[in-house]
Amino acid sequence: MHYIKLYFVCIKRSMLSRLEYKKDSVISILSFLLSNACALGSIFFILQAIPSLKGYTPAEVGFFYGFSMLPIAIDHLFSDEFWLVAYRRVQLGDMDRHFLRPIPVIFQMFAETFQPDGFGEVIVGITMIVICGLNLHVSVTFGAIFVLTIGAIFGALIITSFKIALSSLAFIFKRSGPLLQIVYNFTVYAKYPIAIFPKVVKFILIFILPFGLFISLPVDTLLYGNYNPYLLSLIIIGVSIVFFTLATLIWTLCARRYESTGS
């Protein structure tokens, strides 16, 4: 309870400093919307030339695209600070104050920034889901909605776990941003149904970097009823808890190696 209160105090401070750059935020949100419109436009232009993409109609592909934005956006809202840890803060020895406070450092990282840009992604994602969903003519079951919600929330937790684990490597190597970037960029694969990829890539997307597990499989459950939604939800929750536990463990181990600049 105490931590929840603390979180909101910290976030309020972070939002106040963001207000300094209002115009900047408006333009970034605008450019973000435009870049999504362009990416979507591209996909639709491609799909117009073919009857369907491995059996997926344009509306279904659009639904995938929209849904894939949700876990990514939720992660973006809460854990943006880990990018700075990976790229700069450890290298600059700029984490001293966090280690001196009687609060877990990992909690402080979450509380350090709240990234409202993520709301833009949430809005675009949900809009896409609604527009494409209405064109889909599938029977919407409670189970499907349930597994999609679980996929979005716990999927975000899996992405965050990767961020925590990889950024904490900076405590050992001073800078782990590039590595984090490489792994994070695999989210480009998450935008499409995994059915379009070769077997090896499918395997990676389910068992190693499980973007397919919490994006592709839940959507397939809605569209085709391929999987049992409750069993799938349980697996997603289980996997995310394992990832998060491992990530915090790695963070704790690596953080012991933190060195101040001494100045």
Binding site: K23, V26, I27, A49, P51, L53, G55, I182, F186
Partner: protein, 279 residues
């Protein structure tokens, strides 16, 4: 000639800078390989799903040509689009150093052109030669890029080099125009993102302009962006005959002149509103 000599240090400085900044090239390479692989899988699925099967041609591109296109636009973008123009203008405004340039006997715009050329030369020599050699070697070797005659290839390659230089300069002037907008908004991050988005979509980097719907396609083909990625790459792929090559190069040249004039006008207006914070 004499007047140009004073810009030589800028060419050199930015060429050296380029090497310093590119030490994270390995990251770029790995990220790009995975992204290109994703695109190739996507196109493979698209062609497999098309009515005529994998060997059909969609909007004038076969599957093999599409892979060649994806690979070459990626290399092309890496070599050609290395401008920090927008960031430098933003920094000059924020730190007030723009004042120094206004009293120096060199043109502010000229400095950036010199830097763009320096960066482009350095990237072309250090990374361009090996990347294009390896890329073209493999693509021609596995028969994805058929070469009718060696002379035809050499002629197209020469035209490609001309188009590349124009693409680099066009990219520079567009960055400069977006940079000048920093005078009004100081939203450099957003403006840079906006610029990147517009360029990557309208230049055919995301997908060839032939895939755009009818009227839109005709308009985009005559915009300056097409000359910044799609046209040079299609010249290199020998998809254009010589007449078309000359046509697209002339269009780029005309746009370059027009945009430079526009940038000059915009700058002379913007400089009156500049507010230096702190100086």
């Amino acid at each position: 000639m004499r007047r140009l000599r004073k810009y030589k240090p800028f060419v050199r400085a930015s060429a050296i800078d380029m090497m310093a900044y590119r030490f994270n090239i390995i990251t770029w390479a790995i990220v790009t390989v995975f992204e290109v692989a994703c695109l190739i899988f996507l196109w493979l699925a698209v062609y497999q799903s098309s009515e005529g099967g994998i060997d059909s041609s969609i909007n004038g591109f076969t599957y093999k040509e599409m892979i060649v296109y994806v690979v070459l636009t990626t290399i092309f973008g890496f070599i050609t689009f290395n401008d920090d123009t927008l960031w430098f203008i933003n920094r000059d405004i924020r730190q007030g150093t723009i004042g120094n340039f206004l009293i120096k006997p060199i043109s502010y715009r000229g400095k950036f052109i010199a830097s763009n050329i320096g960066a482009f030369l350095m990237m072309s020599i250090v990374f361009g030669i090996p990347l294009y050699a390896a890329g073209l070697g493999v693509l021609i070797g596995i028969g994805y890029l058929p070469v009718a005659s060696v002379w035809d290839f050499i002629a197209h390659f020469a035209l490609f080099l001309v188009a590349s230089v124009l693409a680099c300069l066009l990219n520079g002037v567009i960055s400069y125009i977006f940079g000048i907008l920093c005078f009004y908004t100081s939203a450099a991050w957003g403006l840079n993102a906006l610029k990147t988005t517009v360029i990557s979509f309208l230049s055919g980097t995301l997908l060839p302009i032939a895939f755009f719907p009818n009227v839109f396609r005709e308009i985009v083909a005559y915009m300056p962006f097409a000359g910044m990625s799609q046209n040079p790459v299609l010249i290199l792929m020998m998809k254009y005959d010589y007449l078309e090559c000359c046509k697209v190069i002339l269009i780029s040249l005309a746009w370059l002149v027009l945009l430079e004039l526009f940038a000059k006008l915009l700058f002379s207006r913007a400089i009156k509103v500049v507010t230096v914070q702190g100086g």
